[in-house]
Amino acid sequence: MKTTACILFAALGLATPAFAADHEVKALNRGPGGAFVFDPPLLRVAPGDRVTFKAVDANHTVGTVRGMIPAGAQPFKSERSKDLTVTFTTPGIYGYECFVHIHSFGMTGMVVVGNDLSNMAAAKSAAAQTPPVERAKLEALLAQAAGG
């Protein structure tokens, strides 16, 4: 269907539209990175893509880290143990966390939208104000995001 649509648009001399992709991040009690993790911890998406944060295991939340979203973007926050789907339209770095498990376990993750890392400095500043375990994980994710 996508191929047919692309061919049709090309035949009409129109720019081929980008189709938004769907992604999934799982909130887990036990995962590849250890206890209380988001999998994958770092996700790169295109502007307009949707990410569903799946409450695979109960009693997690997902919400943006204060100060760790691009200018003009909207913060998001789920209810405990509920899935949340977010459409990421503003390019940049988004840090998010589980409010229940940030202090003791640093349960945190990152979405990078597009190739715009212009809020990297603000993101690092925001990470510096988080609890130690979370700070270490966020700084590692930011280094990974910068590495491309």
């Binding site: 009690n29 206890a35 209380f36 295991d57 109960a58 009693n59 939340t61 919400g63 204060r66 926050k77 405990r80 966390e97 409010f99 229940v100 498990h101 202090h103 003791s104 510096a128 104000q129 609890p131």
Partner: protein
């Protein structure tokens, strides 16, 4: 007919007892500010405009070194404060931390030998019970199921269902020096 009514009443009474049994066992630790030791602070408590100070009593401290389970009589009290706001957003101090506004609640977890037997294994948090108190020390009538569910995610970890177990161990180690 009377037999059915009697059985229904017994069932209702049993449900009431199970629902009320937990928080009813936990007394308000009114002297926590003077008799307990503060072991941790938490900004953005549960992601809201709130912060919390966590306190442990002497039994919790004396049995809190390392990763072992705490002794019977251990009490952890968490004083939850609203955060001062500035144009709807939390005001931050020079270190980027939230600033306390008003005490909103004192949430308590207490452990005693034999407690917890009323609960299903899925819900049970060892021998811990939970209760919430308002700033005047009046016990909340709200169910404590969510306390069990959140703390229950720590089941199987060497934390004895306490999120601040690491800070407690550090405080216990300092006390021994």
């Amino acid at each position: 007919m009377l037999g059915r009514l009697a059985r229904a009443a017994t069932g209702l009474l049993a449900l009431t007892c199970v629902a009320a049994a937990g928080p009813e066992k936990v007394d308000n630790p009114a002297d926590y500010l003077t008799k307990f030791t503060k072991i941790a602070t938490r900004d953005a408590h549960l992601g809201g405009n709130a912060l919390a100070d966590v306190y442990a009593n002497d039994i919790a401290l004396r049995s809190g070194a390392g990763e072992s389970d705490l002794a019977s009589g251990a009490i952890i009290a968490m004083a939850v404060f609203s955060a001062k706001l500035n144009a709807g957003e939390p005001a931050l101090d020079a270190e980027g931390r939230m600033i306390k506004d008003q005490l909103r609640a004192v949430n308590v977890m207490e452990k005693r030998t034999g407690w917890g037997a009323e609960y299903s294994e899925a819900l049970r948090n060892g021998e811990w019970e939970y209760a919430g108190f308002n700033p005047q020390g009046v016990k909340s009538a709200n169910p404590t199921t969510s306390c069990f569910e959140c703390h229950g995610t720590l089941k199987g970890l060497p934390m004895d269902f306490i999120y601040t177990r690491g800070e407690l161990a550090e405080a216990a180690a300092r006390m021994k020096k």
